[in-house]
């Protein structure tokens, strides 16, 4: 099990700020993204967003990063207001 966190407009679009997600190791961030995309909208739009940022265990990450049980994967976009 890993924890998924959704921030800002992703959270609003999903109406969800976190969820538990079951993985089978070996598993990368990209694998989780592909599985989430299979849920259809609004995951598809969110995960296709070219501005999507990723953090694994509170450290900035790239899609090729490997995940293990208990990890936390956060999805967040840049925001620009001030």
């Amino acid at each position: 099990m890993i924890t998924l966190l959704y921030f800002a407009r992703y959270r609003e679009a999903l109406g969800l700020d976190s969820e538990q997600f079951s993985i089978t190791c070996p598993c990368s961030v990209q694998d989780v993204i592909e599985q989430l995309k299979q849920r259809g909208e609004p995951w598809l739009s969110i995960l296709a967003d070219s501005k999507l940022m990723l953090a694994v265990n509170q450290t900035i990450a790239t899609p090729d990063q490997a995940l293990t049980d208990g990890d936390e994967l956060a999805f967040f976009p840049p925001i620009t207001g001030g």
Partner: protein, 379 residues
């Protein structure tokens, strides 16, 4: 070099700052460091107002406020430094007057102009710390690039809706381009809304980071070896460790602020030359007769496929010989934020004869395009 009067606190200052000098980790030495510090606040809006209020009250020796905008009624919901009687006044000037009434012991400078590559150098070079309280990525990249050049730390912050982001960026650890490498054209508060208290909280976090850094309190324990991005979501937050990106040309030394600022300056100058009536909204576009109008999406193919509002797709960088200006037809460019559409506009005019522009047949939509995700969440 601190002047003689900056080496000690006056009796009045000892009294004024007593509640913070009482703190063991701050003390009189922390107060003196604040007194000797120069802070540059760029943008005196939702973030800049609260940050400036607390930094003024805390006794920063010199604060410079940069903003070319005027106070408007729709600002008052979150920029609570301002009153109804300030509407129409320049924000930097109005803020300076208000702030100085709280603390006459410090120096406050109002700079009522837009930040540009030239003044950014002058302003940043003489500051100890820069607060990014702007509402756009152009300004943030400019601040980043010049701060990297002078190795000045700066505090990035942004807000939208119920969310905020804030980070103290020390150029030696990583830079803003490492985090957000491309111009992220996303809606700002004017387009997508913000709950007033959110910039209040985030602006105060900027002030706290500033005081922590300048007084060397190190409230985070040992001096951090990486920059940290705080993601604030309502009452929850997450701290994300940031690292230098292998692809960051600025941190790799392959590019300098000059490479980026020349683009910026050229762009600013060129878009000023586009007549106002050729910068249109989506509503204006809808009024054009469809049979005489060619709509062109100048974003990348990937962006076009993900979401579009019709028309043909010619990415900005490919625009050139493959676009034939058809006589008697209107040509309308669109993109995500309005930036690339205006660049396409300029590029097309430079490729075509003068008759095109005088004929007013080229337009750019300067209004942001909201993706399905953004549409779902905008008010």
């Amino acid at each position: 070099m601190p002047s003689k009067e900056n080496l000690q606190l006056s009796q009045q200052e000892q009294q004024r700052y007593l509640r913070q000098t009482q703190l063991l980790s701050f003390g009189e030495s922390g107060q003196l460091k604040l007194k000797q510090s120069k802070v540059l606040i760029i943008g005196v809006g939702g973030l800049g107002c609260p940050a400036a209020q607390y930094l003024t009250a805390a006794g920063i020796g010199e604060i410079t406020l940069v903003d070319e905008d005027q106070v408007s009624l729709s600002n008052l919901q979150r920029q609570i430094l301002f009153s109804e009687s300030d509407i129409g006044k320049n924000k930097a000037q109005a803020a300076k007057e208000k702030l100085q009434t709280n603390n006459s012991d410090i120096k406050i400078i109002a700079f009522p102009h837009k930040l540009n590559p030239h003044n950014a150098h002058q302003l940043i070079k003489r500051s100890d710390l820069v607060l990014d309280c702007t509402d756009n990525f152009h300004s943030r990249y400019l601040i980043n690039d010049i701060c990297a050049h002078y190795n000045k730390p700066w505090v990035y912050a942004s807000v939208l809706g119920f969310e905020g982001q804030v980070a103290l960026i020390k150029p030696e650890h990583s830079c803003f381009r490492c985090l957000y490498p491309e111009l992220a054209e996303t809606p700002n508060c004017n387009q997508a809304g913000v709950l007033g208290v959110v910039p209040g909280i985030v602006g105060n976090m900027q002030a706290l980071l500033a005081i922590d850094y300048l007084a060397r309190i190190n409230s985070n324990g040992e001096a951090s070896k990486s920059n940290k991005l705080q993601l604030i979501q309502g009452l929850n937050s997450r701290s994300i460790n940031l690292f230098k990106s292998d692809d960051c040309q600025l941190c790799r030394g392959e590019k300098t602020y000059l490479d980026y600022t020349s683009d910026y300056q050229a762009y600013e100058q060129l878009i000023e030359n586009i007549p106002e009536e050729q910068k249109i909204s989506w509503a204006d576009f809808e009024k054009f007769p469809a049979e005489n109008t060619v709509l062109i999406d100048v974003r990348s193919e990937e962006e076009h496929l993900a979401f579009n509002r019709g028309g043909i797709n010619i990415p900005l960088e490919e625009l050139g010989g493959n676009l034939r200006i058809e006589v008697g037809k209107r040509h309308v460019f669109y993109c995500q934020s309005g930036r690339r559409s205006q660049l396409a506009h300029i590029k097309t005019l430079s490729l075509e004869s003068d008759s095109i522009s005088s004929d007013k047949r080229v337009y750019s939509i300067t209004e942001p395009l909201l993706s399905p995700v953004e549409k779902l969440t905008s008010p």
